[in-house]
């Protein structure tokens, strides 16, 4: 049965030269899981907002959106509010009240339901989401992931038939993002709620989605199963930058082109690879550079750092040693709450360690990318802000802004930018500052895979010209392709530190998807490109070579 139908919907924002949606038609069935992808600015958010009456943007609209065969604008107010749920990007801004339990009840209070019914629905949802333990907490005590979980739960108590999510994980780290996707998957599979979702992180969504829509400048250019879409995307790789956001299994095998059905999960990819490698000798690769090196002087060095936030609280840092060398790129990995952000604050001198010392080399000019990119902007337009930080050097601003693709937003107010855009703007502002040591807290948050690759290139280049980088990240793929050294932070200390290849090859679970897939054949290959290269060389150097040896 058809749940949602877009019938030739076009939409243009007032004053905009072009249409944000152009003759968009698609249907969505009850209980279907639909993911909409496309680069930023392609009209995904506009599409989603047009499906929720209360949030439909103002502007010129043509065509009709049907919900269960009723035009959206004729729907009963109760049905429109309760049956269509909408989750936005920024977790903090959607929370209205001060306690978790109250937030869960907010929508039902609006519906003027009596307390016993609200109590029942709220407790049902709290146990479905596993939030009983923090049910009575104040929302300020929650992490970003927990906040987004509360937002999702507070919509689910309304018992919707359609759940719309607009890049719900763009402010979350990958682990919290995965937890959220797991819950969305459960909502879809166990409760039969239809899901309409936009997302950059396709590797988490593609395996579970029923259908994928690809949008480009306001039009839908592809609409079929995720595996099929992956295949199509691989076909015209040059034009489609979201190709890089495909899950590692899909990218490796669409490139190798050796399979009929493109795998979307690591398990399937491992099966495919073993078939592919049948009768071939794996080529032992040498990606890891010789790890001899007299280590250069450290720019930034922390020795036996101890830190806690409250007098009786647990120690966040426990005797941590760390040094960032000149011309080094050190990626700090670790789970949520392992103290990564705290460590950055200590190293940057924002807070003082309770024991131990931070030494900064005298010539170092340190700048830091904070956890919340919004806090970096104080002017009325993006351009003013960037010029401010570049001390008026327009050329520097232009060149960085072009490379990060934010020059089109020059006249916008920084806070009008979306999650990924403001993150890019923040990175741009940081780069124009001209520091020689950068501390970055989750630089890839909300960025699509294509921009991420570009960022990797930029950081590598800056590093070659002498910049030292300390990057805190959850993004293993990014760390694998960007870092010179990787360190794992656990329980307040650094557990292991090594070059990326040795680091990831040595880990069994905490490693990249590409490495998970290929580790039986090429234990050293940690990025998709490396795995593909290995597979190709194995192909050419198969049977005859091994016999002659």
């Amino acid at each position: 049965m058809v749940l949602l139908e877009f019938d030739k919907v076009s939409f243009a924002y007032p004053g905009a030269g072009s249409r944000s949606l152009d003759q968009v038609s698609f249907t969505m069935c009850e209980g279907e899981y639909l993911v909409v992808c496309g680069q930023s600015g392609c009209g995904k958010t506009t599409l989603l907002r047009n499906a929720k009456r209360e949030l439909a943007p103002a502007g010129a609209r043509e065509g009709v959106v049907f919900y269960r065969n009723t035009p959206l604008h004729q729907l009963d107010a109760d049905i429109a509010a309760m049956e269509i749920g909408f989750v936005q990007q920024i977790p903090d801004n959607q929370i209205v009240t001060d306690f978790v339990w109250h937030e869960l009840a907010f929508g039902l209070e609006n519906m003027a339901l009596p307390t016993p019914i609200i109590r029942r629905r709220v407790s049902e949802m709290a146990s479905f989401f596993g939030i009983e333990t923090w049910f009575r907490k104040s929302v300020h005590e929650l992490s970003g992931g927990q906040k987004q979980m509360v937002n999702l739960a507070s919509i689910m108590v309304m018992n919707p038939s359609l759940l719309i999510l607009d890049e719900p994980t763009s402010m979350l780290d990958p682990i919290a993002a995965r937890a959220l996707f797991d819950v969305i998957k459960r909502i879809n599979k166990e409760l039969g709620v239809a899901v309409l979702l936009t997302e950059h992180r396709l590797e988490d969504v593609f395996p579970t989605a029923d259908r994928a829509l690809i949008m480009q400048s306001g039009q839908i250019i592809a609409d079929s199963s995720p595996a099929q879409v992956a295949k199509e995307l691989a076909g015209f790789r040059e034009r489609q930058r979201i190709y890089f956001g495909l899950p590692a299994p899909a990218r490796i095998f669409s490139e190798l082109g050796a399979v009929n059905e493109i795998p979307l999960t690591i398990r399937d990819a491992r099966t495919c690879l073993s078939k592919y490698m049948q009768g071939k000798t794996p080529q032992t690769s040498e990606f890891a550079p010789p790890s001899d090196q007299t280590r250069p002087n450290p720019v930034l060095r922390g020795r036996e750092l101890w830190f806690r936030y409250t007098p009786d609280g647990a120690d966040v840092l426990r005797g941590l040693d760390l040094s960032l060398e000149e011309e080094g790129i050190l990626c700090l990995l670790g789970g949520n709450g392992s103290g990564k952000t705290t460590l950055l604050k200590v190293l940057a001198g924002i807070v003082k360690p309770h024991r131990g010392k931070v030494k900064v080399s005298k010539s170092a000019k340190i700048a830091m990318l904070p956890q919340h990119p919004q806090s970096m902007f104080t002017r009325d337009t993006l351009l003013e802000d960037l010029l401010d930080s570049a001390d008026g050097d327009r050329n520097a601003v232009d060149s960085w802004a072009k490379r990060l693709e934010i020059d089109e937003f020059y006249d916008r107010h920084p806070f009008d930018l979306s999650g990924g855009e403001i993150q890019r703007a923040a990175i741009c502002k940081l780069l124009t500052r001209g520091a020689d040591t950068l501390l970055m807290d989750e630089p890839t948050k909300g960025l699509d895979a294509y921009i991420k690759r570009r960022l990797t290139g930029i950081l590598r280049e800056l590093n070659k010209s002498g910049m030292a980088l300390l990057i805190v990240t959850h993004d293993l793929e990014f760390a694998a392709s960007c870092a010179k050294r990787c360190a794992l932070l656990f329980d307040g200390t650094i557990i292991s530190e090594d070059t990326p290849h040795t680091f990831f090859a040595g880990n069994r679970f905490y490693t990249t998807a590409a490495n998970q897939i290929a580790r039986d054949y090429f234990p050293d290959a940690i990025t998709c490109e490396e795995v593909i290269a290995c597979c190709r060389t194995s192909f050419t150097a198969s049977a005859p070579l091994s016999r002659s040896g």
Partner: protein, 303 residues
């Protein structure tokens, strides 16, 4: 965190208790009542908030008490029993006692409100008055969320600017930067408010008059407490109607205690004022018996 058992009692009982305690303290300008009230208020605050909270509240209360008890006899020349002359002014016994009683009365109200703040958290208050004014109560709830958020944001803005090495050293540019930070904070909050409004609309805010959800239950223990409170305050109210719990100071002081019914009233008031302290301590003892070794989590040493 100190565990507060008063918070396990239904908010209506707490409210009724404070109406009774503060109400009778105000209505009975009588040395016995105000002294009992003061002692009980101190006891209860000490039990709820510990010595620290008591001292904080007492500092202010005692200062006020001293000021009132000193100033009344200086400026109030009524009364017949001369104590001494201050310049050309009579300082009388009656006006001194009147001042002391007024001082204690004020002080006990201050100390009571100290414990009220601990026992009656904002969500309890909102629950009681939310039904009458749902929008106002939502507004208060949102404000309570807003203030800490703003504090966090201004902190983030300041550190971010500091880490961009953009904090100027001279005074004028420094002030400029501060103004810019504040304006950034304002536009950031404004932007957030727009999204919050969206989130409220999306969940059907404004379709009809809202209800207010709560997690409180009125159980059998609450009804026992309520009955006790009603009984004791009923006795006090009745006695007050018959003229007990009031004293004439001028021109001559009357007897402090008048007959059996007076004694009954004072003991009823004392019982009522001691009720929450008694409740709190009995709960503490109960749980100390159930967990004789204390909280295992707190006992272990963190290394």
């Amino acid at each position: 965190m100190r565990r507060i058992y008063a918070q396990t009692v239904h908010p209506a009982c707490i409210l009724l208790f404070y109406i009774g305690a503060i109400g009778f303290t105000l209505a009975c300008h009588h040395p016995v009542i105000v002294s009992v009230s003061f002692v009980c208020a101190c006891l209860y605050l000490a039990v709820l908030g510990g010595g620290c909270a008591l001292w904080k509240s007492l500092r202010f209360a005692l200062l006020l008490m001293i000021v009132v008890s000193l100033f009344n006899p200086i400026f109030n020349r009524r009364g017949t029993t001369l104590l001494f002359m201050l310049g050309n002014n009579w300082v009388t016994l009656e006006s001194t006692v009147f001042g002391v009683v007024s001082g204690i009365q004020l002080a006990s109200i201050i100390v009571w409100s100290g414990s009220y703040m601990i026992a009656m958290t904002s969500d309890r208050f909102l629950y009681l008055f939310g039904k009458a004014a749902p929008s106002a109560s939502l507004l208060i709830t949102m404000t309570q969320r807003f203030i800490p958020t703003i504090q966090l944001q201004i902190e983030q803005i300041c550190t971010s600017q500091q880490m961009l090495n953009q904090t100027p050293k001279r005074v004028l540019p420094k002030m400029n930067a501060a103004v810019r930070n504040i304006s950034a904070l304002l536009s950031w909050s404004m932007e957030n408010a727009v999204e919050m409004a969206d989130s409220m609309k999306a969940r059907g805010y404004g379709i009809r008059r809202r209800t207010t959800f709560h997690l409180f239950r009125f159980d059998s223990r609450d009804s026992v407490i309520l009955c006790l409170l009603l009984l004791l305050s009923g006795i006090c109210a009745l006695a007050r109607l018959f003229g007990h719990g009031r004293m004439e100071f001028f021109p001559d002081m009357t007897l402090i205690i008048t007959g059996v019914s007076g004694i009954v009233m004072y003991s009823a008031f004392a019982l009522m004022a001691l009720l929450p302290t008694f409740f709190e301590i009995s709960q503490k003892i109960k749980y100390a018996r159930i967990f004789p070794k204390g909280d295992p989590k707190l006992g272990s040493v963190r290394i």
